[in-house]
Amino acid sequence: MIEQHLANGLMLGAIYGLIAVAFTMVYGIIELVNLAFGEIFMSGAFVAVTLSATAVVLFGTVVPMPDLPFWLALPLAVVFAAILGGLIERIAYKPLRRAPRLAPFISAIGVSIFLQGLGQSIFGTSETPFPNPVGGPPIIIGNVRVQPLSVLILVIALGAMAALALLVRSTPIGRAMRASAQDPDAATLVGINVDRIILVTFMLGSALAGLAGILYGANFGFAHYYMGFIPTLKGLVAAVLGGIGNIPGAFLGGMVLGIVESLGAGLVPGGAPYRDAIGFAILTILLWLRPQGLLGVRLRERA
């Protein structure tokens, strides 16, 4: 039974991990906790489900849709999420580059509230069904059953994370991202267009958040304008668990959180209603023991 709980947690953790990586990337470059990822997450799910339907109700009227296959709708929705993220960056964060630290955070909250309202306006208050894109019988390994979709989610999430980590570590654009993060003025002086790098980082993060939203929606069979809130909070917790600013750490944090939640909700008697508290309790204990997170590096106080 514990194997089943582990398998359950792994899939959930992969989704948390994706959001955590999104948070970590953006945090790494401009130290902003972009709470609007919740709504980008939501937009990813909605765009994917909308594109793969024959018709949808938007603003209360029926609109015909292209009925695309999932494998085509998914990348399009990810691109949409990236563009939305980029727009948000340009409109709501870029003017605040030199403002006090909390200002962009509050702006992010504003964006989040706004997009939630917009989501409600467009898609209504009911959950929109998200058909399972990968049917078929469950895969049975020993006494563990997993949905084919869960396996796919795990593979996509791991792939996206690895590609991104590689991008940041070993490509010129990744080098420019790190340089812009560590010293934006010096980066400008060597000729890096820091604003553009920030935009690219936002779009990459948003693509991940959108991807996470699609996978989440597909897995639980729905899309809803409020769907991003809780998973995003979890993703943020995961990012901190892993040591915010650290990409593999964030993904690991997501995995840990997913597994701990599943085990806690499943194995602790009466634990299910406390599952959110379990995650936070773990976080609290970990931060107390290791304030820099799992893989974070403690920066020495400059003096």
């Binding site: 560590q182 010293d183 003025d185």
Partner: protein
């Protein structure tokens, strides 16, 4: 080659530069000296685009640079090695240097070799992260990173700051070497004595205004300069 005309810069309501003129000719070392808050760093930051002037013109070979965004200027050949070195602390020496050539695809490894031969200390440490280097090494890295940008004009801001006497000497020696290899240099220095010793010409900046200019050797003899900046009583 580089010409600054009637440059005004404001920080909020405070006018930091009150209309300065400055010229650097090809192959020169020009020193810019002055007290704290005189506007030396502001001048460099404005030339390199980090600050926007309120009015005035900056031209390089008659090309107006005043409206060019900061990140383009290094591609135009204006390379600024900022005060306090500003290496990318958690990146390796090699990565720092590679970033100096950002946006250029050709001859990068050849340039890297040249910088390493100029600063053998950096070659030894090419895989260390910048924050683990000593102050002198970081200054070399900052200058090396600047050279990777193939500057037409290299602007150095306080390269000797916070370094011990021996290192200061070494850095000035290196600057001379770079200059002899053909670089044009605009040097801001607190250490006026050393700066005037290696410069061809110099400017003296006081509270946002140019008060003196001339050949470095002349200025080094100027009684006012000797009193204010060379520490003679």
């Amino acid at each position: 080659m580089l010409r600054v005309a009637d440059l005004h810069v404001h920080y909020g309501s405070i006018e930091a530069l009150k209309g300065i003129d400055l010229e650097v000719r090809e192959g020169e070392i020009v020193a810019l000296i002055g007290g704290n808050g005189a506007g030396k760093t502001t001048t460099l930051k404005t030339i390199s685009g980090l600050l926007r002037p309120t009015s005035g013109r900056i031209t390089l070979w008659d090309r107006d640079l005043t409206q060019v965004p900061a990140y383009r200027l290094s591609h135009e050949g204006i390379v600024h090695v900022p005060e306090g070195r500003r290496c990318f602390p958690r990146m390796s020496v090699r990565e720092n240097l590679l970033l100096g050539a950002w946006g250029r695809k050709t001859d990068v490894s050849a340039d890297l070799g040249r910088v390493f031969s100029l600063f053998p200390r950096l070659a030894e440490r090419s895989n260390q992260v910048a924050m683990s280097l000593s102050g002198g090494e970081q200054q070399m890295l900052a200058i090396g990173r600047g050279l990777m940008g193939r500057p037409k004009i290299l602007m150095l801001d306080e390269p000797s700051m916070g370094l011990g006497p021996m290192l200061v000497k070494l850095i000035f020696q290196l600057i001379t070497e770079i200059h002899e290899a053909g670089a044009t240099i605009l040097l801001v220095e607190q250490n006026a004595r050393m700066a005037l010793a290696i410069a061809d010409r110099a400017y003296v900046l006081e509270s946002g205004r140019m008060v003196l200019e001339g050949a470095a050797s002349d200025l080094a003899q100027n009684p006012a300069v000797r009193r204010s900046y060379l520490g003679e009583k």
